[in-house]
């Protein structure tokens, strides 16, 4: 499909892809590659100007954003764009009321989401009084509360410290084991390297690479054409050719073991 903005900018050009149930997918590429535009098509905020987007068998042009959001929960980059309530609890309730859940389901779901994101103690605090990392967690809790089958995270690591990034990976893995499909956009290569999802590489509104993290992140020329720097472990292993080690995406421990092995021989 294709998307042309009203000002004439063609943000997506000949994009064609299929994402299956239970997949973890990272959309990568430099700023302006079309990552966010692609994600906004998933719940119908944007409709393709050519081609079709089908979510769970339904053409997005024939459904409202509210209907699609029930299935596809998008967590946007800037968490503060969504806060308006007096308390963390009310903030989390909002979407559930919009979707027409019953009162007892609402209170159960809100409690679950806040506990899951470790925000239970803040439930009566104002969302605006939270720290940056907590705001980001609340933004995620707000979406998880209605339990959409597909969870979309737009740049989940921006403004997060290392510890928060590790937690984010844990959360994504946990959601995935619960059967959720997780689609995220990022240009944080180390984060993606650790998560090891399926990677869709974008450049200038086109998909230029689609495959396992192990294959995409070791393809130096492809990464360079997208202005991405390979993960440190790949950079390291790519320089160990003289020892007979190939560029690979592996844990530091495995690489260390391999080096030790070669030295011993």
């Amino acid at each position: 499909m294709e998307h042309v903005y009203p000002n004439g900018v063609k943000a997506l050009d000949g994009v064609s892809l299929r994402i299956g149930e239970g997949e973890v997918v990272a959309v990568m590429g430099e700023n302006g590659a079309g990552k966010t535009t692609l994600l906004k098509h998933l719940n119908g905020l944007l409709k393709p100007t050519r081609g079709r987007v089908i979510v769970d068998g339904k053409d997005t042009r024939e459904a409202t954003v509210a209907e699609l959001s029930r299935k596809v929960g998008i967590v946007f980059q800037n968490a503060e764009d969504m806060f308006f309530s007096g308390s963390v609890w009310e903030e989390t309730e909002f979407a559930l009321r919009n979707f027409g859940f019953s009162e007892d389901v609402i209170s159960k779901r809100v409690e679950w989401a806040l506990r899951f994101m470790e925000l239970w103690d803040y439930r009566s605090k104002s969302p605006f009084m939270l720290s940056g990392g907590e705001k980001k967690r609340l933004a995620l809790a707000v979406i998880l509360a209605w339990s959409p089958e597909i969870i979309v995270l737009d740049e989940p690591t921006i403004g997060q410290d290392q510890l928060q990034k590790e937690k984010m990976i844990e959360v994504i893995r946990l959601l995935n084991t619960q059967g959720k499909t997780v689609i995220l956009s990022s240009h944080d290569i180390e984060f993606v390297a650790e998560l090891r999802p399926r990677i869709i590489l974008m450049s200038g509104g086109r998909i230029v690479g689609d495959g396992r993290a192990e294959d995409i992140l070791t393809n130096m020329s492809l990464l360079e054409s997208c202005r991405l720097i390979p993960p440190q472990i790949v950079q390291l292993t790519s320089r160990l050719g003289f020892m007979g080690i190939r560029a690979k995406l592996a844990s530091p421990e495995d690489v260390a073991k391999e080096i030790a092995e070669r030295i011993r021989v």
Partner: protein
Amino acid sequence: MSALLQGLQFHPGKTIIHRLDPRVKLVISILLLATTLMYLEVTVITLVIVVEALIAYAARVVGRWARTVYGAAPLIALVFLMNYTANVFMMGEAFSVEGLYRAFAAAYRLVALLAAFSIFFLTTTPEELGMALTKLKVPYIYTFAFISAIRFAPVLAQELQSILDAQRSRGLELDKGGPLTRARRYIPVLVPLLVSVLRRSYELAEAMEVKCFGAKKERTYLKTLRLGRRDYAALSLAIPLFTLAAYIRVMVPIELP
């Protein structure tokens, strides 16, 4: 709405219109405005719009300019409706074709008015506008406030868009229910917008203080405005034309549709 705003935003270019002194452009816009206010005849207003279209063409902004005028259609329709209903129901005027015509002309006038200022804003940077205001002896604090407001309008429009995206993704449907519930539905949009505007203004104030805003009473400027040959030529074309229009209005009693 975004189309309307687009036509009130600077669009870079190197045409003769872009290079005119902002004061000259302001004067011409005001003369066009005055001409539209003098006449209530549809023919004359059409003529003014044609002149504006030619200027827009010379500045290579016809597309954006036309979209602004088009985007203002709902506003203009509203003016027409209010004008007409006010005349009929409040002034007790009988229904007549003439009344319809007058209401239409009043709304149509607005098109010419908006069109003139759209060209001005499309071809003038906020800085130039600021310089023009300073030359007109407007205190710099007010000028600064004014040009920041202009400059932040597109930023704000963008912010509004991302807030709308975020809230619609949470199942917010703005166009459902009666007028009262609809107004209530805007709270989730207006609160984050207000918060963001306040934060932005604090940040701007801090950035200004860091750059020593107001440290010295007498401000100096990197660029100063000077009228060139081009500017005098434009004025010597615009002023006689306006005088002619004014003369005809006062002295020549002609009936035009």
